[in-house]
Amino acid sequence: MKIHIPKEEHMGPGHLACAGCGSPLGLRLALKALGEETVIVIPASCMSIIVGPFPYSAIGVPIVHVAFETAACSASGIRASLDMQGDRKTTVVAWAGDGGTFDIGIQALSGAAERNDDFIYICSDNEAYMNTGIQRSSATPYLAWTTTTPVGNPKERPKKDMMAIMADHGIPYAAAACVAYPEDFIGKLKKAKGIKGTRFIHLLTPCPAGWRIASNESIKVARLAVETKVFPLYEIEGGEVHTITYQPKGTPVEAYLSQQGRFRHLTKEEVATIQENVDRRWDRLVKRCEGRAN
């Protein structure tokens, strides 16, 4: 299959991401989808560094750098100020990491979502606090290695279901996307742009350093996350209507886990448990798509 993406480019080279990082790719694709009339709010995270230091910026739209926990409330404020100026054309986007979203930023995000403030919130999820050296977050997968969950001291809690939490705020649109599926991601952003209210995009962005993979494997591994159903691509409209947007192949999770150093310590039994968890959650998602609550 051939992938089609818009040719317009609002990002330039020379940015500071590690080789093979999924985040700048995600931002580049997002800007292709959203266009020039966009403001990006970036709280503390790898992306704060990647886009470049003052007085430089690797992207062609305004960035507002904000404190770690304030992505959503800053976006709310910028939206309010644009509204007061009568600017309804500019799209306000918050671009935060998983730590900045699942953990420290959840208060501001939940408040904004409850008010249905009008912005797109993109959580670029690399499944740990990467910028400070791979500490676990509540987005870190069950049993994954991080520097704060070393081998022998595993993370025994599952990844937080942020999509469900956001959808249950009753927001108009929530979608899970992945940089290995650019067309799907861009399609979701274009759809989100046409909706008013809080729109949440959960974007999986591979991190070669933190996932312990080679730089050339990041797209391959991100793709496997989707194909194994570990990270399904779907959307939830109006907090209720679930739709799977890409039918995964259902590759065994082992193929995904064994590619990554952060899962290298897993036993056969642990892999089997992860497979069961993935299957169970997939079934739940399918039931929700069919409109059967569970």
């Binding site: 080279p13 790719l25 007085p55």
Partner: protein
């Protein structure tokens, strides 16, 4: 692009910190320790095609509905897309990487589809320049015509001399029209003539035409084929009702009235035997094929064997003739003996050994001998060396006489139409090199496609053509994430009762929908098809899309060498190099 921004004093800085420069000053290319580069490689199908057709290139164009361009891509290498799209034994398909995924590409059917869409060429079809040198080609089979065509396209004045009243060689007088309709052959020969080739029929070298007559030519290419039927060397071969398969096919193909009996035995297991039997069936006879080895050793192409079986033709294996018995000078019976397979012979096949006392007789009223063909070399002057009943040539198709070249069935044991076309092309290149005083060996080396002797005329003629590394892409080197399983689209065939009543074409070709569906199945192994994955996934905006021959370039000022472009290229059209320290 903004360079460095320097504030000399605080008052120059903006009141609030607003960035005004981009990051282009930051040459992240210095981070790189591996270097990606665009490098098309050799597709296995292309390497396996003796005629050297650039398969993914033409199939890609079919997929875009650009049929005439696809046709021109094939014609760059071979003047016979319509012929090969019907009778080629398609070794390309046996090497297609898609076999390891689902089913091989229907390359042969697509080639035919392309040819069937093509308009006739206008006379005076464009050639590259004009040269005054004249070249003679003897024999108008696929080998001779391929050589003549390629030379004419290079601008030479080429005359083909053909002994028979019609041109085409085995395509004309061997292969029956149920496999290769004569109008298809006529069209492609007319196209060759439109490129400036002159064909003189009824001109037999060694008859009215002599080697002396050819001395006025700069070079001579001999391609007279292998038309002498091997004898069985058993008693009774001169009885009435006994004849050779090749004679029978020639008479049928030239429209002569032929009479075959009811009970017809055909001896042999090659294409001639199969075609003779199938022709007999269409003339109302009841053919029985006798072959002295087993199905495995049979030299006829699989497809032809299975079509013959579909048509109800019986093939008996491990049977050898011992005597032809006649009454009043006419054949009535054939005595045979059963065989078993012994050790390997010089061809690597197992040798048939008669089983003592297993003789039996068959009632026959016609016996067709098709036990192989040899070249007739009696017209050759003595200084042209012959070895093992074939003209011996060097890698550049040159005989022991300097200005005389040879190819096709008369010089090789690879006796197929595609090989004949390839040998003709090789000779054309070699002749051009000799005339223009270029080193043949190094030229041939530089235009190889894979290691089987396939050559690329596109490479020979064009300096700008994107170079391909000789590395043949293996299935394991593809990134299958971007392909989907899809069924092979195969040509339909006429139902048996319809096809055996006359000589109409058995295979009906692909519909346009089928061709389009089939074309998009091709992986385009090793050959960039512009899918843009490298551009799409580069996190560092370092893939630059260009128009022209080279579609993509890497911006080494910024490429960090992550290798994603290489990994996500579905077809291995990028390679990795170590970064120079």
């Amino acid at each position: 692009m903004a360079g460095k921004i320097i504030y000399h004093r605080e008052s120059e800085m903006p009141f609030s910190p607003v960035s005004s420069g981009d990051m282009s000053w930051n040459r992240t290319g210095t981070w790189r320790y591996i270097r990606p580069k665009y490098e098309d490689k050799t597709p296995p199908c292309n390497a396996a095609c003796p005629a050297g057709v650039d398969i993914p290139m033409f199939i890609g164009l079919v997929g875009e509905g650009r049929y005439e361009e696809a046709w021109n891509v094939i014609r760059e290498e071979s003047p016979f897309p319509g012929v090969c799209g019907r009778v080629c034994f398609h070794p390309c398909e046996s090497h297609c990487n898609r076999a390891d995924y689902d089913e091989v590409m229907a390359i042969n059917a697509l080639e035919r589809f392309v040819a069937d869409q093509a308009p006739p060429l206008e006379p005076g079809s464009p050639i590259r320049g004009r040269r005054e040198e004249r070249v003679a080609v003897v024999g108008s089979g696929p080998s001779g015509l391929s050589c003549a065509y390629h030379l004419a396209r290079m601008g030479y004045q080429v005359t083909v001399f053909e002994a028979l009243p019609k041109p085409g060689g085995i395509l004309r007088v061997g292969i029956p029209s149920y496999r290769l309709p004569k109008d298809i052959l006529d069209k492609e020969i007319a196209d060759i003539q439109a490129c400036g080739v002159e064909i003189k029929t009824n001109a037999r070298l060694g008859g009215d035409l002599s080697f002396k007559d050819l001395e006025e030519y700069e070079a001579v290419f001999l391609a007279t084929g292998a038309h002498v039927s091997r004898k069985l060397n058993i008693p009774g071969e001169d009885l009435e009702g006994v004849g050779s398969g090749l004679d029978l096919l020639r008479d049928i193909n030239l429209g002569k009235a032929v009479h075959v009996g009811r009970k017809v035995a055909v001896i042999g297991g090659g294409n001639t035997a199969l075609d003779a039997a199938r022709a007999v069936l269409r003339l109302g006879g009841n053919p029985l094929i006798l072959y002295r080895r087993s199905r495995e050793e049979m030299p006829a192409f699989d497809e032809e064997v299975s079509e013959a079986l579909e048509e109800g033709i019986e093939i008996r294996y491990l049977i050898g003739p011992t005597e032809i018995i006649g009454l009043n000078g006419r054949v009535t019976q054939l005595e045979c003996i059963k065989m078993e397979l012994g050790g390997e012979d010089e061809t690597g096949r197992r040798r048939p050994v008669p089983i003592p006392q297993s003789n039996f007789t068959l009632e026959v009223d016609t016996l067709i001998v098709a036990a192989g063909e040899e070249p007739n070399l009696t017209f050759l002057p003595e200084d042209i060396r012959v070895e093992a009943k074939m003209v011996s040539t060097d890698k550049g198709a040159r005989t022991s006489r300097k200005e005389v070249f040879a190819g096709g069935d008369m010089a090789h044991l690879d006796r197929t139409v595609a090989h004949a076309i390839g040998f003709g092309k090789r000779a054309a290149i070699s002749i051009d090199c000799v005339i223009r005083k270029r080193g043949v060996t190094s030229v041939l080396q530089g235009i190889r496609v894979g290691e089987n002797g396939t050559l690329s005329m596109a490479k020979y003629l064009s300096e700008i053509a994107r170079r391909r590394s000789p590395h043949v892409v293996a299935f394991e080197e593809l990134n299958l994430d971007y392909f989907e399983h899809a069924e092979r689209n195969e040509r339909a065939k006429l139902p048996v009762p319809e096809r055996v009543t006359d000589f109409r074409e058995v295979s009906t070709g692909l519909t346009e929908q089928e061709a389009l569906r089939e074309a998009v199945r091709c992986f385009s192994c090793g050959v960039c098809d512009g899918c843009e994955n490298c551009y799409i996934f580069c996190p560092d905006l370092s893939v630059i899309t260009d128009e022209g021959v080279v579609k993509y370039r890497i911006n080494y000022d910024y490429c960090k060498g992550c290798g994603i472009c290489i990994a996500e290229c579905p077809r291995n059209a990028l390679s990795v190099e170590k970064e120079a320290k």
